[in-house]
């Protein structure tokens, strides 16, 4: 039976069919639906699910569950893996006990990423971790299951690297049987396996490299590294969603070029690639973002076919996602053909006013931003981070002077204030505060600088689609939990000037901003009011008796 699934839904289905027991995630577009869905269905399937406080903690939670023998899935967006990498890399050394798959979602073209256009494939090299790249929703499901199989066989965690156009692509997907799950684990002590201390850690690295070497043998035989198309002297090597654009372009051109589609990014089936390029005159490597496959092919060609002309990033961009309109001209170019543009509107120079994303109607942040704009003296620096409050940078607000990552609003504020007398107001959301704000706040107190920090507590992680966080008293599965008060944490960090304000009390808010801007020590306003969208949804579901 087939059912239309979103790529992320297909991953959930694949994990359930593989018999996943334990799922931990941190929301981030384009990966968020994976956690949202598990939050809704975990109980029904006997699976444990949590939204962890950040991606490192999510990774560690699954590592612990894996060490206890459970089958684990971890999901996050690309930047999340940066946070989680400190746990991930030694996890590859210890290896898994219960099979573990890590879903990491990249976002070429930065549709929903205000940090960088990160290519997570780099982690394959850094961590020596197996990495698979599905190209559509069906493969997203199949590769998730394959990931669990590989993890089970080699006791290695496996990354499934998806991109926006895979995560948020829908297509009919074959539905299989869901395996029964249990969340009963047992940790069996094994110091040799779970403790990464020298000198043992170096033996572990060797064991890891050996495992990857053996897995390389499987990759050579895997049906997911597949040769398609006919014969010819000009070929294509590709992976991920790019494959779909190639199929589309070749269809349009009426061509049947030999194409090697790689499901494995790490380890690469080097022999298969070598035998593919051996008989070619020219090869085009079609991969989104940085050309690492191309580099690998360059190395292999030196041995088996030094005359081979290798094209890739000379005809395709390193930045921005691909589509048929980008891949088409590249293929035509290496064939020496003309690409007929399908765009018929000539002189496409229409300037259409930009419709910026904006705060929702009734959003409590409106009050905070307008209060800040009104009372902040000329020249005040405004700090930012990741969440709905990054809309501070767009019109009509325009109060954002730096933005880098989760928690950057406080960490960077300290660095500026330590060296400058300029006034500085920095915003951080409740979700980001729990995620990465607390160590930065402690540092600000400990190392004595005095920014004004406004914690925008809208009682939920809103930007990514309303996921619960530790300030809400609800877990990812909807269970009641301790409601952790942000103001208590702030006080416990040693902040002397703390005030909790409902931003609708705009005169109190303005007076406090003025007062706190003159403090010699760090000061914190917790602006506490529920997200307007979430409040409306809660009211609606109350009305409908749910």
């Amino acid at each position: 039976m087939k059912k239309i699934l979103l790529g992320n839904e297909a991953i959930v289905q694949g994990a359930l069919e593989a018999g996943v027991n334990f799922v931990s995630a941190y929301p981030g577009t384009p990966s968020s639906e994976i956690g949202n869905i598990f939050g809704d269905i975990a109980k029904k399937h006997g699976v444990y699910f949590e939204f962890s406080t950040n991606e490192k903690v999510a990774m560690e939670a699954s590592i612990g569950a894996s060490f206890s023998g459970l089958k684990c899935l971890v999901a996050m967006k690309n930047f999340g893996l940066n946070v989680a990498s400190e746990a991930l890399i030694p996890f590859c050394y210890t290896g898994t006990k219960g099979p573990t798959v890590i879903i990491v979602a990249d976002d070429p073209s930065c549709w929903s990423s205000g940090q960088s256009e990160q290519n997570t494939r780099a982690f394959a090299y850094l961590a020596h971790i197996p990495m698979l790249e599905p190209s559509d929703a069906q493969e997203a499901k199949d590769f998730t299951k394959l990931g669990f199989e590989i993890s089970e066989k080699y006791n290695l965690p496996v990354i499934i690297r998806i991109t926006t156009r895979v995560a948020h692509q829908r297509m009919p997907v074959e539905i299989g049987t869901i395996k029964k799950s249990s969340t009963k684990g047992k940790f069996v002590k094994d110091v040799k396996k779970y403790v990464t201390m020298p000198p043992r850690v170096l033996e572990m690295k060797e064991e890891l490299l050996e495992k990857m070497d053996k897995l390389g043998g499987d990759a050579e035989k895997s049906k997911w590294n597949v040769l398609t198309g006919g014969n010819g002297k000009i070929g294509i090597i590709t992976s991920g969603v790019s494959y779909l654009y190639i199929k589309e372009v070749l269809d349009k051109l009426g061509l049947n070029m030999p194409t090697l589609k790689l499901g494995f990014f790490n380890p690469l089936p080097r022999k298969k690639i070598s035998s593919f390029i051996k008989g070619l005159d020219k090869v085009l490597i079609v991969e989104e973002l940085e050309g690492w496959l191309e580099k690998e092919v360059n190395i292999l060609a030196k041995q088996v076919n030094p005359e081979l002309k290798i094209h890739g990033k000379d005809v395709l961009p390193i930045s921005r996602e691909f589509n048929a309109d980008i891949v088409g001209p590249a293929i035509a170019k290496i064939l020496g053909k003309k690409w007929k543009k399908s765009l018929e509107i000539g002189n496409w120079k229409l300037e259409i006013p930009k419709r910026y994303p904006r705060l929702c109607e009734g959003c409590p942040y409106w009050f905070v931003f307008s209060a800040v704009k009104e009372v902040a003296p000329e020249g005040t620096i405004f700090g930012g981070g990741i969440g709905c409050y990054m809309l501070a940078g767009f019109p009509p607000h325009g109060i954002q002077d730096y933005l880098l990552c989760m928690g950057s609003s406080i960490g960077v504020a300290h660095g500026i204030k330590k060296n400058s007398k300029q006034k500085l107001i920095t915003f951080i959301g409740d979700g980001s505060f729990f995620h990465a704000g607390i160590p930065a706040l402690i540092n600000t107190v400990y190392n004595k600088s005095n920014p004004l920090i406004i914690i925008m507590d809208n009682r939920i992680t809103a930007m990514t689609g309303h996921q619960p966080n530790p300030g809400m008293g609800k877990t990812g599965m909807g269970e009641n939990s301790e409601e952790i008060l942000i103001e208590d944490i702030v006080k416990a960090c040693g902040v002397k000037h703390v005030r909790v304000i409902d931003p609708k009390n705009i005169s109190e808010l303005k007076a406090t901003i003025k007062e706190f801007l003159d403090k010699k020590e760090v000061s914190v306003i917790v602006s506490k009011r529920i997200c307007a969208l979430w409040e409306r949804r809660l009211k609606r579901s109350e009305k409908h008796g749910k």
Partner: protein
């Protein structure tokens, strides 16, 4: 329809229900036995900003993205946003446009939008007051999308029968909102 892919671009702003519409069309396409692939965006781009979604229907569909100049049908939920979808059109593309504006600071006048639309669109252009009808009859602008897609099916602008759209609505829309959505579908049936 043969081997040709039928390409739909839906354009509008975050919050207008574009993803629900996409789900309905995709579901209806599979009810009729077609292959289908779609593309959508979530997150930051959804917060009231410009959004477009792609739906491709055919015997076998590869890419989820509609290439430029290749849309068979452009469904616009917001008047100005129609302009942003024009690069996907060609001389045979049908535009079905909701006569409905969500203005913002710095926008251009409706007159100017009119001028640009008639200058740039040489193909069929159908403008209907979908959201207005839904507001008057059902009290909700946001149903304009359901009205528009149903209208497209009834007028033969889609390779999908209205009956399949109706079935898909019943599968996709949550029960508590189903009745009002079905009413929007029926309103479109009797539209001129």
């Amino acid at each position: 329809m043969g081997n040709k892919t039928f390409n739909i671009v839906i354009t509008g702003t975050g919050g207008q229900g574009l993803i629900t519409l996409l789900q309905i069309v995709a579901e209806a396409a599979t009810i009729e036995g077609f292959d289908v692939k779609t593309a959508e965006l979530h997150g930051l781009s959804q917060r009231g900003g410009s959004v477009n979604t792609h739906i491709r229907i055919g015997e076998k569909v590869y890419s989820p993205l509609v290439p430029l100049g290749s849309a068979d049908l452009i469904l616009s939920l917001e008047y100005l946003e129609t302009l942003r979808a024009i690069p996907y059109s060609n001389s045979k593309t049908t535009f079905l446009i909701n006569c409905y504006s969500l203005p913002f600071v710095g926008t251009i006048s409706e007159k100017e939008i009119d001028r640009r639309l008639s200058e740039l669109i040489k193909s069929d252009k159908i403008i209907i007051a979908a959201s207005e009808v839904c507001r008057k009859e059902l009290g909700k602008d946001v149903l304009g999308g359901i009205y528009l897609i149903s209208y497209a099916a009834f007028k033969g602008l889609l390779p999908i029968k209205p009956e399949s759209i109706k079935k898909a609505i019943a599968r996709i829309i949550p029960k508590k909102y189903l009745d009002i959505n079905q009413k929007a579908y029926k309103l479109a049936k009797y539209a001129n």
